[in-house]
């Protein structure tokens, strides 16, 4: 009887494992195929011409791709840095504001979160077009309009990540710092910041991922500038979309995908290791927040 139950459990477990790994295999299939075929130089997927690294050379020699990668990184870093500062200060300020302001800003903060990207992108574009038609005839789409678009996308998430940390924090801490002779700026930096740092950090990471992956807002709000010079700023997303619209994925992009995958794996492993380390150190209050990370 007991044996039968045990056997049943075991079969269940095997099926569960099988299901999970099958699903994972399907999810990773397109990426793994690209990774495998990045080490051969055939033009079509599925044809193996022998092992070679030549696609990687081609990738680094392709000026258009390198520019797109450079633009993507610049925009991601600049926009997420600004979004983090704007969102963190916003969260601190709103937390100290009266209920009326709190509710107004929080409601407004939710708008970009629940609205589809394409509506946000169109709304911004329409605003810029309106400005050009009615007030500033010389207005041009540029890096700055693109930056505004990415900030709209990511800042609300920074805000949402910092807010719970402020609510968990002991409000007396800041005041104690003031009583002990800190300048308000110092108190903010030395008492509040360490307390909300995990929220700020995860907000920053989300801002980066949103910016790196974005297609719609970039396609709508970008103008000439950055590494693209006089032509419209291209990022990885917009560049790749342009070339795959009518043709299969160019071979050198397989190499790019492999490299991105490698970076993602390294970052994930690093984050897991950092988490383990922190967990082992059992750093009390923030432990739960960091485990989520």
């Amino acid at each position: 009887m007991v044996e039968q139950v045990e056997r049943k459990e075991k079969i269940k477990k095997v099926f569960a494992q099988l299901y999970i790994w099958l699903l994972l295999l399907l999810m990773y299939a397109p990426i793994l195929v690209l990774v495998v075929f990045s080490f051969t130089d055939s033009d079509v997927l599925g044809q193996w011409n022998g092992f070679t690294f030549s696609l990687y050379g081609k990738l680094f020699r392709s000026e258009a791709i390198m520019k797109a990668v450079g633009n993507t990184i610049i925009i991601a870093l600049v926009s997420s840095a600004i979004a983090t500062i704007l969102g963190t200060f916003g969260a601190i300020g709103v937390y100290e504001s009266n209920r009326h302001w709190k509710r107004t800003i929080e409601f407004t903060n939710q708008i970009p979160v629940v609205t589809p990207e394409i509506v946000l992108a169109l709304a911004l574009t329409v605003l810029f077009v309106f400005c050009r038609e009615h007030f500033f005839p010389n207005f041009q789409f540029s890096f700055w309009t693109l930056l505004a678009g990415h900030l709209v996308l990511s800042t609300p998430f920074v805000y949402l990540n910092v807010k719970p940390k402020l609510e968990q924090m002991d409000p007396a801490l800041y005041e104690a710092a003031l009583d002990l002779g800190c300048h308000p700026r110092q108190a903010l930096w030395k008492a509040t910041m360490p307390e909300i740092a995990p929220g700020v950090f995860s907000g920053f990471l989300i801002a980066i991922t949103l910016s790196l992956d974005d297609f719609i807002v970039t396609a709508f709000t970008a103008g000439p500038g950055l590494l693209s010079g006089a032509s419209k700023i291209s990022t990885i997303s917009t560049y790749v979309q342009g070339v795959i619209k009518k043709h299969p994925l160019p071979p050198e992009l397989r190499a790019l995908c492999t490299l991105i995958f490698l970076v993602v794996v390294l970052v994930v492993v690093a984050l897991i290791l950092v988490n383990r380390h922190r967990k082992a150190g059992a750093v009390g209050r923030h432990q739960k927040a960091r485990m989520k990370l």
Binding site: I92, G93, T115, I118, V126, D179
Partner: protein, 284 residues
């Protein structure tokens, strides 16, 4: 009266500096201005353009055109249909997966969840291209089977977004309740429908929210995988954008906003705040 005001001593006897130096709530001013300029104002602009004509005079032209042109309101039907279908398939595939992942015996340290989330960090346009090439390779090209190819692409892209909220609710699942139910004579099917499903309903709702709207408004996935044969809201708005048809594009955006408002009214009952952490918000 906060104590930081008391500590404030006029440094260079400038009232202006005193005013701004010390109140933490003024830190929100830049963000408030930013939200006003780049969120509130653009949203108002959408409504302005939706209900005016090219010359800027009030008109219902775009609205009339939307509801009288079959190719336009069919966009609405196709988007709704594809949205519902993708959501259902994602839930059917993701629900068991989340249930298994939340089982501590099978997923001891949560690494499996990370494996499910990881593909999301690879640029989604490249992933979409890869999916299309792979489907082409196995003979399921978007030229021949646009609907199937698009559906596969959508499910592939949004499955992690389904699994994540389901997984977080499943972690809180009260397993002793399930045991109690089966001890009291409920068969596994009854335990599932009378206990597990009601317990995980909030997760199901927020998972659906994370799939439904993004699918309806997506552009790249439907455009690439159906080779331009399926037009969703996203594709339609994008087309309006490339042709500088601001009025009809804005009206489509307003229709989307209405659909959002409706879904939010329906799901508000279940929303415990975690549905707002969508679009990457729940990743970390």
């Amino acid at each position: 009266m906060s104590p930081n005001e008391a500590v404030a001593k006029p440094k260079k006897n400038s009232k202006f500096r005193l005013f701004f130096r010390l109140k933490r709530r003024y830190l929100a001013i830049p963000y408030a201005i930013f939200l006003l300029l780049f969120v509130v104002l653009p949203m108002l602009m959408i409504f302005w353009y939706a209900f005016t004509d090219k010359a800027g005079n009030p008109s219902g032209e775009a609205a009339v055109a939307f509801f009288t042109t079959p190719s336009k309101w069919s966009v609405l039907l196709v988007s709704l249909f594809l949205g519902v279908q993708t959501t259902l398939i994602c839930l059917l595939l993701g629900y068991p997966a989340a249930y298994i992942l939340a089982n501590k015996k099978l997923n001891r340290n949560g690494v499996l969840v990370v494996l499910f989330v990881m593909p999301m960090w690879i640029n989604f346009v490249i992933r979409t291209g890869a999916t299309r090439d792979l489907l082409d390779w196995i003979g399921l090209s978007g030229g021949k089977y646009p609907w199937a190819a698009t559906l596969i692409g959508m499910v592939y892209n949004y499955l992690p977004f389904t699994i994540l909220p389901l997984y977080t609710t499943m972690l809180k699942l009260d397993r002793s309740q399930m045991e109690a139910a089966s001890d009291l004579g409920a068969n596994p099917v009854q335990v599932f429908f009378k206990n597990v499903l009601p317990q995980t309903l909030p997760g199901i709702v927020s998972a659906s929210e994370m799939v439904f709207m993004p699918v309806m408004s997506s552009y790249v996935i439907s455009d690439t995988l159906s080779e331009g044969k399926i037009t969703l809201f996203g594709n339609s708005i994008y087309l309006n954008f490339t042709n500088s048809q601001w009025n009809s594009g804005s009206f489509m955006a307003v229709v989307m906003l209405v659909i959002i408002a409706i879904t939010m009214l329906i799901t508000r009952k279940f929303d415990r705040g975690d549905a707002t952490a969508r679009r990457g918000g729940g990743l970390w």
